[in-house]
């Protein structure tokens, strides 16, 4: 037997406003100035759904209003569905405020409806949205019962169908003219309607009625579009008030990072790069910060620290009104291994240290060195991204593809100075030459550019690496520290 649960979240936009300081009546009004969502305080003051703005304002002078945003509502519903996806395999969206959950496949996993409900209840409590629900043998039956706030939880089909038969037509999805037409015929409940012969109905009414009743009954197949888990993480929060101080951003940011880390934990994944966007009210383009971690992290504290280091470098021209956190791809988590008997004091791994330094000092400030198989001093040393060998090993493990040709170790040249001057400076002091010359010729035998290198010591006792050009000019190129 098929079993569906319909979950209706009637006040998403109101509930997602983070906890208000005092009890403030809050309502959402649509474009026609009708109230479509209320919080508990507003309902307690006598305001009802569908009331016009004028009436509501007359009843309650300090009513706070939010505009209805279709996109935001959709996003919220989507995010609830993504959270519940951990518990239920088949979830379909029913915009603007409903979710179909197919239970029949899940009951065995949770050992019955009760076990399932306990888990779902906990998840819904953690989300903090108000909800009403009902079970049903078809998606539309569940929806019809949930609309009446029956909160039925049973797998008993006779009980469910009895409840469905008692349902008034208002709870159904039939159009208003159709409902009125039926009412004039003396049909007030769905039970009366379902008792009529379909052939008779099809003769007198539009085909939409028959198709609805067929799906309600389960006679017709009702195709639902089940969601797929989103590949990354993307969330936007509107701040309660504009924030000009980057330090104050910590609180909303950490709640975003908490959500990210929940999602990462559920997938047993890490992410290497986050995009943090700061949105402004005046339409100024958002500031986008790329926060990276070389090792990959899932812990919110670590990400918060890296974000803070970037934020404290930032000067805000105007207060921030919204925060957005994006992460495109999750990578599977690697087990970190460390020596068992090595009583090390390390609080960070080298890659974590690199991420920390990069967050504060900028990408270009940290680098590593590699030795190239070149004889010219300026080509032999090459700056590389920090700890590139470790990072590339990391990547290789990720991709599970060996295959890279093993690099032949480069044998270092015998005597080279510790420091090479970025641009050689002319020699202006007497030096004592102790060894040389060593003739270096640029690639391609450019004889005019060849240089004869000498090692010399000046009066102060500094050991210099000198060269003489073809035109007999002397330059200092390095320092034997």
């Amino acid at each position: 037997m098929a079993l569906y649960l319909y979950l209706q979240l009637p006040s998403l936009l109101v509930d997602c406003v983070s906890p208000l300081p005092a009890k403030v009546p809050l309502a959402v009004a649509d474009a026609q100035h009708r109230l479509v969502q209320l919080n508990a305080e507003a309902a307690a003051r006598g305001i009802t759904l569908g009331m016009s703005l004028g009436t509501a304002a007359a009843l309650c002078a300090d009513l706070q209003l939010l505009p209805y945003q279709t996109e935001r509502q959709q996003q919220l519903l989507q995010s609830v569905a993504q959270q519940l996806y951990q518990l239920t395999a088949d979830i379909a969206l029913d915009p603007p405020d409903g979710l179909y959950l197919r239970l029949c496949a899940m009951l065995r996993l949770y050992r019955g409806l009760n076990g399932y409900w306990q888990v779902l209840y906990k998840a819904l409590q953690a989300l903090g949205y108000r909800y009403q629900f009902s079970c049903g043998t078809t998606p539309l039956a569940a929806k019809c019962l949930a609309r009446q706030q029956l909160n039925l939880l049973s797998a008993d089909s006779t009980g469910l169908s009895a409840a469905l038969k008692r349902s008034p037509l208002v709870a159904s999805e039939l159009s208003l003219p159709l409902q009125q037409q039926l009412k004039r015929l003396g049909i007030n409940t769905l039970g009366q309607l379902l008792a009529l012969a379909p052939a008779e109905l099809s003769r007198r009414f539009e085909p939409e009625l028959l198709s609805y009743l067929g799906r309600l009954n389960g006679d017709f197949y009702h195709a639902l579009n089940y969601i797929q888990p989103a590949p990354g993480f993307s969330r936007y929060i509107e701040l309660l008030y504009d924030i000009a101080d980057t330090r104050v951003l910590t609180a909303p940011l950490s709640s975003l990072l908490q959500q990210l880390s929940m999602q990462l934990k559920q997938r047993d994944a890490l992410c290497y790069q986050l995009q943090l966007s700061l949105h402004f009210r005046s339409g100024r383009p958002a500031i986008v910060l790329a926060v990276g971690s070389a090792q990959g992290e899932y812990l919110p504290e670590r990400w918060l620290m890296l974000c803070q280091l970037q934020l404290c470098r930032l000067k805000l021209a105007e207060p921030v009104s919204g925060l957005e956190l994006n992460c495109d791809d999750f990578k599977p988590r690697q087990a970190q291994t460390a020596a068992l008997f090595d009583n090390s004091v390390a609080t960070l791994s080298p890659l974590q240290l690199v991420s920390l330094l990069e967050a504060r000092l900028g990408r270009g400030a940290i680098s590593s060195l590699s030795l190239q198989n070149q004889h010219l001093p300026e080509l032999a040393s090459r700056r590389q991204p920090p700890l590139w060998t470790q990072q590339s090993q990391h990547q290789k493990q990720q991709n599970q593809s060996g295959g890279g040709a093993a690099l032949k170790p480069v044998i270092p040249l015998a005597l080279r100075p510790a420091f090479i001057l970025p641009s050689p400076r002319p020699l202006t002091e007497p030096v004592e030459i102790t060894s040389g010359p060593e003739r270096l010729c640029p690639n391609g035998w450019q004889l005019a550019a060849q240089r004869d290198y000498f090692i010399g010591r000046n009066r102060k006792g500094q050991w210099l690496w000198l060269y003489r050009t073809v035109s007999q000019q002397w330059f200092v190129h390095g320092l034997f520290s």
Binding site: A346, L369, F419, P422, I433, L479, S481
Partner: protein, 223 residues
């Protein structure tokens, strides 16, 4: 020994000069004459100050020590080196380039911050810091971070009259024909004021002047 002395010693009220503990764990510097004077070598953790001119061999004197420090698999960090470090020379001296970081900070504050993070992290064995402006409090802070992370910080500064910093070891280096002359300015748990001449003849024969009698060196002047 009388019973009273034994009792006082047991209660740690009496201090005797001959059973003095080393103030730090020493790691051989690779130069026997230096090891003998420094009670075994350079400290494995904490601050080491070198007052030296550039290019006289200040890095060469530290290389065997740095190589040993790096042998634990931890990082070697160069902060604000005076010019482009040369991979050939470091690799030839046995430094593992895969465990080497070079940091070029924009200003003195960033430099000290980076040094502190590196020392504190515990994943760096040694940090070399060129020409920082260090106050007493900052040096103390770096010293604590170094002890916490079991790392050593080598501060290279121009020879000048500085305030005495809370360091484990402070040396002044001057150039000599055969190598370096090292003056111990300060040593934790030891005597200062000793001068050691170390010869580079063994490690770096090309970077030593031959005997002055055999000086057949050319003299070149910029033209």
């Amino acid at each position: 020994m009388s019973a009273i002395i034994a009792q006082l010693t047991r209660r740690q009220l009496l201090w005797q000069g001959n059973n003095q503990q080393a103030a730090y764990q020493a790691l051989s510097s690779g130069f026997a004459e230096l090891d003998a004077r420094l009670g075994g070598g350079f400290p494995a953790t904490g601050l080491i100050e070198l007052q030296t001119d550039a290019g006289i061999g200040e890095l060469r004197v530290m290389l065997p020590y740095l190589k040993q420090q790096q042998a634990s698999g931890r990082l070697l960090v160069l902060i604000a080196p005076p010019a482009e470090p040369c991979a050939d020379m470091l690799a030839a001296a046995g430094i593992n380039l895969d465990a080497l970081l070079i940091i070029s900070p924009a200003n003195n504050n960033a430099m000290l911050w980076a040094a502190e993070q590196c020392l504190h992290s515990g994943c760096c064995a040694s940090v070399l810091l060129w020409q920082p402006q260090l106050s007493l409090a900052q040096a103390r802070r770096l010293q604590l971070a170094a002890e916490q992370g079991a790392a050593s910080l080598i501060v290279l500064r121009k020879p000048a009259q500085y305030l005495s910093l809370p360091v484990n070891l402070s040396l002044a280096l001057t150039a000599k024909a055969q190598g370096l002359s090292v003056k111990v300015l300060k040593r934790k748990g030891g005597w200062a004021g000793e001068v050691v001449n170390i010869s580079m003849q063994q490690h770096w024969p090309a970077l030593c002047l031959a005997d002055s009698s055999a000086a057949t060196a050319l003299t070149a002047v910029a033209g």
